[in-house]
């Protein structure tokens, strides 16, 4: 098993586009090769070593096994101005001891990412598989479709131990997103499948224009979307493999979008 340590060299001015920080790309590469990988900063392409000290070591197992599955990337320091870490990754592991920049794990299809701090907007954008776990807070557009697109996350799992902001799970097609804290506006907008569970509260219009899939908000939705009607009441509902506690009202919607919408919105009573 290979472990690659990236230590941030200090504060970064213009944000860096670093989709090369990915186990699939790092796998089977020597320290020097990783240092030479190019990243964009504004109009310039610079080697990764410009921003990070790189350290590579083998941590048990067969040193010949250089598959991405056996590759871990550990990032130390604040990388909140480094974008696209783990973009399109298919296997392996990334652990960030600090906060991550925009588009963390965008379009990832497998493997896992753990962030010990916060993640900026677009974390898990259009994710297809794997696990993205943010111990701090997420920002806007977590697991969301990109601008203009109507197909967001299609598979995998996002866990946020803190809170997230607006448009979490926008255009969600599949997979699940669990937020321990609160969300803001338009959580699950245009959702057509998959599951969103918010343990805290939502500000406004959860499930707007949803046509499928499930959203559960365990505390209040401050401004409820008008296109939903009550479909029943459920005690301790089980959604996917998530067991919720308490009495929930189940709504169907969003009728603003069409005559026969198939979205389910659970909201805890009391």
């Amino acid at each position: 098993m290979a472990e690659i340590l990236l230590r941030s060299k200090g504060s970064i001015g213009i944000m860096v586009e670093a989709e090369v920080i990915c186990p699939d790309i790092f796998a089977a590469k020597k320290k020097e090769e990783i240092e030479e990988l190019l990243v964009w900063q504004g109009p310039m392409q610079l080697p990764l070593a410009e921003f990070f000290d790189v350290d590579a070591r083998s941590t048990g197992g067969s040193p010949e096994d250089t598959r991405p599955e056996e590759t871990s990337i550990i990032i130390e320091g604040d990388v909140s101005r480094v974008k696209r870490i783990g973009q399109s990754m298919k296997a392996g592991r990334i652990e960030i001891h600090g906060s991550a920049g925009m588009h963390l794990g965008a379009e990832m299809a497998g493997g896992s990412i753990l962030v010990r701090g916060d993640a900026r907007s677009w974390a898990g954008r259009e994710m297809k598989g794997g696990l993205l776990h943010i111990l701090g807070n997420g920002a806007d557009h977590v697991g969301c479709a990109y601008r203009g697109s109507w197909r967001g996350m299609t598979g995998g799992e996002i866990r946020i131990d803190g809170s997230a902001r607006s448009q979490l799970g926008g255009g969600l097609v599949g997979g699940q997103i669990v937020v321990a804290g609160n969300v803001e506006n338009f959580c699950g907008i245009r959702q057509s499948g998959g599951l969103i569970v918010v343990k805290g509260s939502a500000v406004r219009a959860a499930g707007a224009e949803m046509n499928g899939g499930t959203i559960a908000v365990c505390k209040a939705i401050r401004q409820f979307s008008p296109g939903f009607i009550v479909a029943g009441h459920e005690e301790n509902p089980k959604l996917g493999d998530m067991q919720l506690e308490g009495l929930f009202t189940k709504f169907t919607g969003d009728y603003a979008l069409g005559k026969n919408p198939k979205g389910s919105l659970y909201c805890r009573e009391d």
């Binding site: 479709a145 990109y146 601008r147 203009g148 697109s149």
Partner: protein, 599 residues
């Protein structure tokens, strides 16, 4: 100065290729192609041969440069498609090189990317299929910025207030005078007629559904407009015939109205009165048709609703097989993302109501309308699977390839970069059967495609992608063949016709997508998909003339109604500076003595 831009390396020889040049009856013969100063010649002198750039095409397929006679590549609706679809751009990016601009966009690429992608695929000539007069400036601006390609645009006139008024009054002479003036004013190449009478009704949220249904206010019928514009076209003697987008397009059961529309211009003589020097061809390079049907796939639907939807292509093809005055382009559907864009505003609204996709719509005052919508054609969809089948049926059931042109109605049915895929389906029944297995079963159950054994040859491919599009739009005086005097536009594919393996469609597709060489005016512009030089293309338009007295009368009517426009009369025309390398084609006896520009 314009001419300086298109100066080419003096002489080029394309040696020993298997040449497919249908307008000269050449079917895979091993031949050398000689090009001097950008034009095909029959021989070169000794010193010229010594200095010539030699392209070794031994064991390879040589065809004239590709000609796309119906594509949406410039203008307001194309740009609306770009603006409303950021998701179409961020995953399809082309980086800058020393000679090329950067660009982005998959279904609706930026102008630069469009030019490079067409050239990399072996195409050198592309015509924009719908230019609203008021958007002519925008269209010319985008064509001016498109690299490499020779281009022109058809002007949308089927719902124009003046045309409707004159045809209602039965004043065909004034209608012709108006059309002639409009073509000169807006630098248009041909006449396009979109959902005649219907788009005008769209201003009142209505449409027309029958050929004899008069529209609101003007009370003119689709039949009167089609007949009238076809007559005007031949009175003026334009290089191309009327180009028709039928009523009820995209609706189940529309094959009948499409067939009846094709009958309307029957009996009119095709007349091309353009004053041009014609390159030498063995077959006649002059069009025979008086009606060129756009994207037949969208007009060949059977059934009565989407529930009993089926192909109407066999019936439509049966009629076209009987007549000689119709040419179609296919508007085939190769599956995947598309952006539908058309002047048929009500048609697009219907599509929006079905799909719920994001949609944009526009009324072009006094002239026409348009709509744009994003769409994904899916093999899992029953309707899309039948559309795929129809798009191939219209090519294969019409027996004479000189009546068909292969298009995707880019980007409506599919993207022009999917042409190689389309060619493999037309050339291989096995490829069709394999795709049908991946489709919804309606693909073969609701069409006749499963029973069609025809496989097109490379010669037929050269007809439907080069010779016929050029002939149909009157460009075969210089495009679509390799006779003496033709433009030195050549595509060299790394395909040995003797070793053509139709079981390996992936390889064939890759070779069609990335020809070894694309040569334009004798100069190599693309080499195995890489752009190696970026010459500026030409812009073709027609300058038809009518009698002075009628023109004066007509202009006084136009000025009278100009108060309804939000633009001033003086600001209406497209100034010359909007065209780079213009080629004005004089039609009818020109009243002003003006030399042809940029020949």
């Amino acid at each position: 100065m314009a001419a300086a831009n298109i100066t080419t390396a003096n002489t080029t020889i394309i040696r020993n290729g298997y040449v497919f040049d249908p307008l000269n009856g050449i079917n895979g013969d091993v031949k050398d192609i000689f090009i001097r100063d950008g034009k095909v010649v029959s021989s070169l002198t000794g010193p010229e041969i010594r200095d010539a750039k030699i392209i070794d095409a031994s064991g390879k397929t040589v065809m004239p440069g590709g000609v796309d006679s119906h594509s949406h590549v410039a203008g307001a609706k194309v740009n609306a498609g770009r603006l409303m679809r950021p998701e179409d751009h961020y995953k399809s990016v082309r980086t800058k090189t020393d000679i090329c601009h950067c660009g982005s966009g998959y279904t609706v690429p930026s102008v630069y990317k469009q030019g490079y992608d067409y050239a990399a695929m072996g195409y050198t000539t592309v015509f924009e299929a719908a230019m609203p007069p008021l958007e002519a400036r925008h269209t010319h601006e985008e064509m001016r910025s498109t690299p490499i390609l020779d281009m022109g645009a058809y002007m949308v006139l089927g719902n124009n207030w003046f045309v409707m008024r004159y045809l209602k009054e039965g004043d065909i002479e004034k209608a012709a005078a108006y059309v002639a003036w409009m073509m000169r004013t807006h630098k248009a190449y041909g006449i396009k007629c979109v959902n005649p009478a219907g788009v005008e009704n769209w201003g009142w949220a209505k449409n027309v559904h029958g050929l004899d249904e008069p529209n609101i206010h003007f009370e003119v019928t689709p039949r009167e407009l089609i007949r009238g514009l076809a007559e005007v076209n031949e009175m003026l003697g334009l290089p191309m015939s009327l180009h028709l987008h039928t009523n009820n397009l995209g609706h189940p059961g529309n094959w009948e109205i499409a067939r009846d529309s094709l009958m309307i211009p029957s009996g009119i003589e095709p007349k091309n009165r353009s004053e041009l020097e014609w390159a030498e061809t063995k077959e006649s390079a002059r069009r025979k048709q008086t009606l060129y049907l756009a994207h037949a796939q969208f007009s060949a639907y059977g059934g009565t609703s989407w529930r009993d939807f089926c192909s109407g292509a066999p019936e439509l093809a049966k009629y076209i097989n009987q007549v000689d005055d119709v040419v179609i382009d296919s508007g085939s559907v190769p599956f995947g993302p598309a952006t539908t864009m058309t002047g048929d505003g009500p048609g697009q609204h219907d599509l929006y109501m079905i799909t719920g996709q994001k949609w944009s719509n526009c009324d072009v005052e006094m002239e026409c309308g348009s709509g744009v919508l994003s769409l994904v054609y899916m093999k899992s969809s029953p309707v899309h699977s039948v559309q795929w089948a129809i798009g191939l049926e219209v090519m294969l059931l019409i027996n004479d390839p000189w009546k068909t042109i292969m298009t995707t109605d880019h980007p409506n049915g599919g993207i022009f970069t999917q042409y190689p895929q389309l060619i493999t389906w037309l050339m291989s029944k096995k490829a069709r059967d394999e795709t049908a297995k991946e489709c919804h079963k309606w693909a073969y159950d609701k069409s006749s495609l499963g029973g069609v054994d025809r496989e097109m040859s490379l010669y037929e491919m050269a007809i439907v992608t080069r010779a016929n599009p050029a002939r149909t739009i009157g460009m075969a005086y210089r495009k679509g063949h390799l006779g003496e005097g033709a433009d030195g536009d050549v595509t060299v594919y790394d395909i040995d016709p003797g070793k053509l393996n139709l079981n390996d469609t992936a390889t064939l597709m890759a070779k069609l997508a990335r020809p070894d060489y694309t040569v334009k005016d004798g100069r190599i512009v693309a080499r195995q998909g890489e752009i190696v030089s970026v010459p500026e293309g030409r812009r073709y338009y027609c300058r038809p003339y009518v009698d002075d007295a009628i023109e004066k009368e007509m202009l006084s009517d136009v000025k009278d109604w100009f108060k309804y426009y939000t633009v001033g009369f003086a600001n209406y025309p497209v100034p010359d500076k909007y065209l780079k390398n213009p080629v004005a084609i004089q039609v009818n006896k020109p009243l002003e003595a003006e030399a042809l520009v940029g020949r």
